[in-house]
Symmetry: C2
């Protein structure tokens, strides 16, 4: 995992709660993938802090980082801007996360569960209560998240905008997700998953899947090439939905190795 | 009621629904009181249309109307900008409305019910389903709604921002209210109020209250003067909460007249 900005332990999205309950709450990390305008990064930071979130990560921001315009637009949300971490790839940015949701206006990738913001927020609360590190992916201004980026996620969150006028910008999308996070009832008693059921960190899941793809490639599984992406996505989504634990990911890599050894011996 | 922009019947906030249900839905009108920057008016228009709202009214916009910057920022939400109506006062802007909610970050005016956005949206849906015209008031950038403006409303809606960083701007506040409106379940079977229970239009309620204040003034009720505003607000809130119908407002004006005549004869 490459972090170009700091050696500090990962930003956990923690911020002191000032609602009188006096607790410190863990919160999801917002990951902006290839954001273009500093102003929009600043607007996100501000929207996050408005609703008590502070963990912001950027993947290849167009104008580099730090960004003066982001700082100006954030207007006081310096706690978010100062702790923002920059990564080379989406995979790196979510490597230490166990559960990731991708925001997209076009839930074409029906391979993943599609949630509304007010379904996504309690889902995140529940995971975080169980000790998982969670992230929400947002695409850049021009074209949103790529299918490849979406396929790194466990679920999609789609904001129900007027289909005849669906021009939500980055800051507005971040605002709505942060708002739903803030109002999701955290007094609700969640059925917190057993510790042994916590999914693997994304970097380990990705390594497992890359391993599988590599071996399938050697077996010419993805032939013809023009169907590759589609078939690969379907396969990935199936494993993604399983919420594989670290142990299961290790086991499956053992399974792949065993199968391959068998084949190579044939 | 003064409308400086058009002779057309009031904008009803109707917009074709494109969610496949094929119905036309009435929606609340957003009223921006003394907005300053055209960009923020444009951002409101855009946020409204994002969630299927189109009825926008302005009270004394600082830079006049039409406003080029508002049009540019609205970016495609011209249906909202073109129909925007301008008024000289908050009272005029809501004269034809039966139910009004004021957005304020500081729900100090505890005389009125305080709602969260996800309580306000179904409340508005229910009223509109019963045939009432509803409005949501938003204050200007500098200082929000005045207490006087808030006191024209039937309820307050307060967005639960992080109290340590509560810098929501006009466009963001409008976005959140519009979003909650859009997601409020309109399939829910509301107990629609009986037609005879629909509250009076604000202009008639205001005339009744002004009548009462005038007569109380003649009776030196508000002495000493420094307590006037406070006592007047308390009195107004009590009547406001009653949701007086047109008939009741007429009756109460009769009551005032009767009492005054009695006094003047004494």
């Amino acid at each position: 995992m490459t972090d170009k900005t700091t050696d500090k332990p990962s930003a956990t999205g923690r911020i002191p709660r000032r609602d009188g309950r006096g607790t410190l709450g863990a919160a999801p990390i917002f990951v902006l993938v290839e954001p273009q305008m500093g102003e929009n990064i600043g607007a996100c930071a501000r929207a996050m802090l408005n609703f008590g979130l502070s963990g912001l990560r950027l993947v290849n921001p167009r104008d580099g980082w730090p960004n003066e315009k982001a700082g100006a637009m954030a207007a006081g949300a310096t706690i978010v801007i100062d702790q923002t971490r920059v990564f080379d790839s989406t995979v790196d940015a979510i490597a230490d996360c166990q559960y990731v949701i991708a925001t997209t206006a076009r839930p074409r990738e029906a391979l993943l569960p599609v949630l509304t913001p007010n379904e996504a927020a309690p889902a995140l609360k529940k995971r975080i209560a169980g000790g998982e590190k969670c992230a929400v992916l947002f695409g850049g201004e021009r074209s949103g998240l790529s299918t490849k980026d979406v396929m790194h996620a466990d679920a999609i969150v789609s904001i129900p905008v007027n289909p005849a006028f669906a021009s939500l910008n980055l800051g507005q999308a971040a605002l709505l997700i942060a708002y739903e996070w803030a109002i999701a009832d955290d007094n609700e008693t969640f059925a917190v998953p057993e510790p042994e059921m916590i999914p693997a960190a994304k970097e380990n899941f990705e390594r497992f899947f890359a391993h599988l793809v590599k071996e399938l490639d050697e077996a010419r599984y993805f032939y013809p090439e023009d169907k590759r992406v589609n078939r690969q996505n379907k396969l990935k989504a199936a494993f993604q939905r399983a919420g594989l634990t670290e142990g299961e990911v290790r086991s499956l890599r053992g399974v792949i190795k065993a199968l391959v050894t068998k084949r190579k011996q044939d």
